[in-house]
Subunit: 195 residues, 2 copies
DNA sequence: TATGATACGGAACCATGGTTCCGGTTGTCA
DNA sequence: TGACAACCGGAACCATGGTTCCGTATCATA
């Protein structure tokens, strides 16, 4: 008898597995080598042919885009979780930045690829990006209200700082120049305290 | 009679002029488009053929290297001038950072190309780089002694911050994402004040 | 102003790395 | 287990952008 029509069947197991392998390999490759990690290398790491990479992601940009989407989703969820937890607002804000920084550091190159290359990359994830900003904005608002951070702080200031920090992290991770981003973060946090 | 032997004659005037044009065009191109500005485009801006670019600078990296060298020299001289000026050490340190930041902002991509791409770029300018660090170190030492900045601040912290700021500036200049680096600088300066 | 060394322009060359294509393999369902 | 759709591997293809080459134009000197 004829097999089930395409629309009713789900993706083959090996395809699903390969997709995951590719994503993980790509993440690692970009983290180590920055934006110009090569597809060939990613395929090799995933123990997969280049053709397979291209079946799952039509272009390199699409692959990068998916990685960024995953990353941003995680960041947004972490921000919302922090909001839900409650507790001292000033401390919530500070510990949030520390945690978020730690997560970004794991593959900082990705974050950079979002804003440092071209604005095209931004387009598909813009809504997600807004959601992150919204959650962070709320964290800031609460801390301001509690009077533990300076009153003139804006979300954009935090965004700017985190982007700068990301650049530092990426360079450090690739070993091009040593940077101590944790110290940097603490200096900044001190600067953000209410006078 | 035969013309003067090569060793005694100096470079032709048009060659000297072209060299300058190329450097200026390259500076502008990199500032606008970042590290992957194209030689063809630089040549066009300088109203010169690609061949001419290559006669003056054997490779793209050599051209970039020369731009970085010029930039670093200017930064070093500015730091030393600030040291020579004297005045209140804390204020000297802060105004130095503000001025230096302003200068870097003019073509931030260059600064990034020094540390964000590959460490190879660092090699030829390492001594110059050390001289900058030395001068900045002295500025910091004086400010510490005067008790106007936090005692645990190191040159590397300033270096790290300026690199991060440079990344921000470059992205902002290329219009990929708006960043207010001046605000960022002021926040950091506040964080660096003695507690 | 004549002369030859020096410098110029830009078409052609070539390496790199993203993308396509297709013969062969594998998973899934009856 | 048979049959077919979905999937896989990787050689070949092609666009991009750095680099070379050489015939021509320009500058500086006698």
């Amino acid at each position: 008898m004829a097999p089930m029509p395409a629309a009713m069947r789900s993706t083959r197991a090996d395809a699903r597995r390969n997709r995951e392998r590719i994503l993980e390999a790509a993440r690692a490759a970009f983290a180590e080598q920055g934006p110009d990690a090569q597809i060939d290398d990613i395929a090799r790491r995933a123990e997969v042919g280049v053709g397979t990479v291209y079946r799952h992601f039509p272009t390199k940009d699409a692959l990068i885009g998916e990685l960024i989407r995953l990353k941003l989703t995680a960041l947004r969820d972490r921000a919302r979780r922090k909001l839900a937890e409650g507790g001292d607002p000033g401390e919530a804000f500070r510990s949030f930045l520390r945690e978020q920084a730690g997560v970004i550091a794991k593959d900082a190159a990705l974050q950079q690829m979002l804003w440092a290359e071209t604005k095209e990359a931004m387009v598909p994830v813009a809504p997600l990006y807004d959601e992150v900003n919204e959650a962070v904005g709320e964290l800031i608002a609460r801390a301001k209200e509690a009077g533990t951070i300076r009153a003139d702080l804006e979300v954009d200031d935090v965004r700017t700082f985190m982007c700068g920090l990301g650049a530092i992290m990426a360079a450090d991770a690739r070993g091009v120049m040593p940077f101590d981003w944790r110290r940097q973060l603490e200096f900044m946090l001190d600067g953000l305290r209410a006078p």
